[in-house]
Every structure is written in C-alpha cells, then in structure tokens.
C-alpha cells in the first residue's frame, strides 16, 4: 500500500449541497466545505476547530472517505478512496477509522463490547476464533476495559463506552483516526482520561490523528498543528503553538478570546474585548457567505 507517499493530502475539497430546487433556473447551492486543502503527516495530529456549522465534520467525513467530495481529491498514503460502499472501499476502511461524538449511538445495544471489537477485527482478518477473542480482549485491556469486556453498552458509562468505541476503531491498527467531537459529550475529568489515553495510543501505534472539536483548549493540548474553519473555509492552519499565541486571522483571534479565562478579572477583560469584536463584525451565516 505504501507508494512512497505517506500521510494524507487533501486538495481543493468542496462539498456542496443543493438547498431547494427552483422551478426555473439552477438550484441554490450551499457549500458546506469550500476549497479546503490540507495535509496530515504520518504520526501527526491535526486539530480542526470552528463553530457549529463551519463544515469541520463534513471535512472530516471527506478525509475519512465516508462521504465523497463534490470536487477535489484526497490522497491517502498515495491512494484514492474507492467509490463509497464498493468492496475496495470496504477494504480501505481498515486503515481509516472515525470516532464520533455520541458513543451510545454507534454501538449495537445488543452486543457485548467484546463482540463488537471482535467484529471489526474479523471483518478484515481471517483469524481463528480463539485468536480473535484474545486480540479483542487485549485491545479492550489496552483502553482499560479488560474486566468489562462482557458488558452490554448500556451497562457502561459514557466515558467507558467511548473507550470501547476507540478500542473498536484501533483494533485494526489503522493509519488515520478521525475524532469528530469525540470527547465533547463527556465531562471534563473523563475528557482528560480519554485524551491522555489517545496520546499514549498515538505514540504506541504511530497513529495519524485528525482531531475535530469546538473545544479549543482540548485541541491545543493534543494537536501538533491546528486548522481554523469558518463558513466552510479553512481560514488558517499552522503549528499549534504559533497559531494559539500569534493568530493571523481576525476570526481566529475572536475564537481564542472566547476560551474561558483562569481568573474572574482576566475573564472580564477578555469578555469586554471579545464582545466589542463580535459587535463590530458579527459572524456571517454560512449560507449568506456562500451566495
């Protein structure tokens, strides 16, 4: 599979949805993602931040190959994604996995978490039953659920279930994992557990990560590089520290100003600045921006 070229190269990705059809003339087009180019190197973590509706999830789905772009290309370790749903596409799934926001919605409520991890494994590898059992069990132990592998999803907490979902995603040792708001629904202490776990697994498995979140502090903590999305466009992308300490774009500055501060006085000052900035240029709706 390695064609010399490692990592992901996305160029000029566009995802356009038509909103309503007129009797005469062309349908209105809404560009959820508008000409976005980026790269993710092997072992690198790219954070994507942006407000709701900025197109960051759609971008993630295109990079993962579960949604075909309207135009533009994704090169995944030198390969293009096959047509969604085709046998080739199904084979490619073992190299790229997505972890979604709500773990309870993405697992079968009737299967034990062990069975679900095992299913991911046996879909791509012909293994003896006992070997598959052991591998799935080992993966669950790796995410700290070794003693709970026979539980059903509803018998786990949200954080535990998200770890099970991560185990299911990682059991095939994918090259790229896309975390789409993967910790946003969890409380802060559980978020920290999961993020520390991801950091450790990232080193261990040499994972490339795309970490999509509206939570700037989480993204800053985990990412090597960070991109800022707004109204379907990638406004700014750069080294994590540089971007957070010296944002180039006005929108990025306003976004950073919205991070909660450490002390009330600090917060008051920031709030004043942030509100002034927001009032000066209230952010345009994505639909208006595209028309």
């Amino acid at each position: 599979m390695t064609d010399g070229e490692s990592g992901v190269v996305a160029s000029n990705l566009v995802q356009a949805y038509s909103s309503g059809r007129k009797l005469w003339g062309k349908a209105d087009e809404f560009r959820a993602v508008d000409r976005v180019s980026l790269t993710i190197a092997e072992g690198e973590t790219l954070g994507i931040v942006g407000e709701s509706g900025s197109g960051k999830s759609t971008l993630g789905r295109m990079i993962a190959g579960i949604e075909a772009p309207t135009s533009g290309t994704v090169s995944f370790w030198g390969q293009r994604y096959a047509k969604v749903g085709s046998p080739d596409w199904r084979r490619q799934r073992r190299d790229v996995q997505v972890v979604f926001q709500n773990p309870a919605a993405v697992v079968d409520p009737r299967w034990t978490i062990h069975a679900q991890v095992r299913e991911a494994l046996t879909t791509h590898e012909a293994l003896a039953a006992s070997e598959a059992d052991d591998k799935a069990q080992a993966m669950l132990a790796l995410v700290g659920l070794g003693t709970m592998s026979n539980r059903l999803p509803h018998q786990l907490s949200g954080g535990q279930l998200q770890r099970a979902v991560i185990a299911r995603a990682l059991v095939l040792k994918p090259r790229l994992v896309i975390c789409d708001e993967a910790v946003s629904a969890l409380d802060v202490s559980v978020q920290a557990q999961i993020i520390n776990m991801m950091l450790e697994l990232r080193e261990r498995l040499n994972l490339s990560l795309m970490f999509i979140s509206h939570d700037l502090s989480v993204v800053r903590h985990i990412s090597h590089r960070v991109g800022v999305m707004h109204a379907g466009q990638l406004l700014e992308i750069g080294d994590s520290r540089t971007l957070f300490e010296n944002p180039q774009h006005d929108y990025t500055r306003r976004l950073l100003a919205a991070i909660p501060a450490d002390s009330p006085r600090q917060r008051r000052e920031r709030d004043m600045n942030a509100f002034a900035a927001l009032a000066a240029a209230s952010s345009p709706s994505p639909i208006q921006a595209s028309l």
Partner: protein, 301 residues
C-alpha cells in the same frame, strides 16, 4: 499500561440469555393468565382430534339447538348443539385450529414481506423507495375488505388464496416501521458506524439491524395478529372465507347470528374465544416488548 488502567476493577457480570431474563422477570398475574389461555388455544389447535368429543361435521338432527350441558341440555354437549345438531364445543375447538393456522401463516407472510420491503426501501432510497412507499400508501388507502371480497368472489374460494390475501393485509405497517428504523440507524446510528468499519451492508442488516428491530416488529405482530383474526372472521362471517362444512371462528359467529335470540350458545363461545385470544396476544406482546428491550432489561445489573 499502568496509566491506562483507569477504571476500578469490577467483577465480571454474568449475562443472562433472554429466556432466563423472561423467567427471572416473574410475569405478572394477568400475563400469566394470558399465557395460560394462549397455551390452551395452541394445545386445542394442535390436538383438536383428541380433544373434541365429536367430529366438527357430525350431525344429529334429533338433538338440534340444545342448550349447554349446565343449562339443561344433554350431558355430552358442553356448549350445547347448533341448528344441525352439531356439538358446539367440538366445533369451537376445530374452528380454533383453522383460525389460528390462518392467522399465523398470514402474519408470517405479512411480517416477512413488509419488513423486507421496508429494509429494501430504506437501503436503496431513490426511486425504489418511492415505488415501495407508493404501494404502502396505496395499501393504506384502499378498503381492504372490499378488495378481498372482490378477489375471492372473482377467483373463487380456495384456502391458499385466502391465506395469501389475508397475509397481505397489514404488510404496509411492517414496511413503514422497518423503513423508519433502518433510515435512522443508517443515517447516524450504529448501522452507519458499523459500515464505516468495513462490514458488508447485508451482514449489518442480518447481524445488527434485524435483531434490534425484532422488539418493535414483535409489537407490530401483536397489534396485527388480532386484526388478522378479525379479518378472517369477517370474511368467513360474510361467507367468503372458510367454507362449510369447514369451520372457523368467524363462520361459527356468522351461523350463530341468526339464532342469537333463541340459541345464543351457537355464536357466543366462538365470539368469546376471539375476544380472549386477541386480548391475550395484545397484552403478552406489550409485556414481551419490554422484556426484549436491552435498555429496559436491567434486572441483571
């Protein structure tokens, strides 16, 4: 590894099979009675030859229209006799066999066809979805009894045709339910997520979607089953269902109607069986649904 051991060690939970779960749940008294009644109905249907004291067509014109045994009638006829001197008790037992057989086969046909079409519609979307949903609307908007009467009158009455026809009653309900469930799990739910693991869609449907739909389909069956019994009853009552000398609950009700004021025992037993059976199925279905739902089955936690 050490830093990853985040959770407190919990003992392995024993998982019960759904059968054990149902057993442990200790069904309430009403459900027990319903299950008992349904068991009786099934036994009566299976062993009609051994249970019925007389044949269902055995006539005795000398003992016509005799009241039930406890109300002054002959001792051998528990529910009395009808206008041809046939034993009502024996006929009810045979009628149960016919009606239950038709209802079960028709329900299987309806549930299978409907669920399959619903899944197909939701999987392919586009024009396939449009056509199937159009058929569903069509089915829902035609007066089914009239069409059934027309078909039976036109093609003549035969048992197989009757079963297929009754089976097609209610498939639209299953199709709608299956389509809705598949759409929601395909959109953002587990079916979508499991497909992004690379699992073949057919496997996703068989392993995950269908077993998860079973609870809802089961409830739909328990709603549909009494309706099917009533439909068969209505058709037989109108003379286009089961034909004499055969017997079914509806036919008995129809024959008993003429004698309702003078010999009420001809129709009432069949009516009571219909009433009790449909009620019992509805109650048991509701209870089963709760038992089969893994999110409600927290008795084993």
């Amino acid at each position: 590894m050490s830093s990853l051991d985040l959770s407190p060690v919990a003992g392995q939970l024993r998982r019960h099979s759904w059968l054990t779960r149902i057993w442990k749940a200790r069904p309430p008294v009403v459900i027990g009675l319903c299950l008992g009644w349904l068991a009786l109905v099934v036994i009566a249907a299976l062993f009609a030859e051994f249970l019925a004291p007389f044949g269902f067509a055995e006539q005795s014109l000398l003992t016509r229209l005799k009241p039930p045994a406890l109300m002054g009638g002959p001792a051998q006829s528990l529910f009395g006799t009808d206008d041809l001197g046939r034993d009502v008790f024996s006929r009810v037992i045979y009628a149960m066999r016919t009606s239950i057989l038709i209802a079960i086969m028709a329900t299987v046909i309806g549930a299978t066809v409907g669920t399959a079409l619903g899944i197909v519609a939701a999987h392919f979307r586009g024009w396939v979805d449009d056509v199937i949903m159009m058929l569903v609307d069509f089915q829902a908007s035609i007066p089914f009894l009239i069409v059934a009467l027309a078909v039976l009158a036109f093609f003549g009455n035969n048992f197989l045709l009757l079963i297929v026809l009754i089976g097609l009653f209610g498939w639209d309900g299953y199709a709608r339910i299956a389509r809705g469930l598949v759409l929601s799990t395909n959109g953002q739910g587990y079916a979508f997520a499991i497909r992004t693991l690379g699992v073949h869609p057919a496997k996703v449907y068989i392993r995950h979607v269908l077993p998860n739909m079973l609870g809802v389909i089961m409830v739909q069956i328990t709603l549909n089953f009494p309706e099917i019994i009533l439909l068969e009853t209505s058709l037989s009552f109108l003379g286009l269902g089961v034909q004499p000398p055969g017997t079914s609950l509806g036919l008995m009700l129809g024959e008993g109607r003429n004698y309702l004021t003078t010999a009420w025992w001809m129709g009432i037993p069949a009516g009571a069986v219909i009433f009790l059976t449909t009620l019992a199925i509805s109650l048991v279905g509701d209870w089963l649904r709760d038992m089969l739902d893994p999110n409600l089955g927290n008795k084993d936690l």
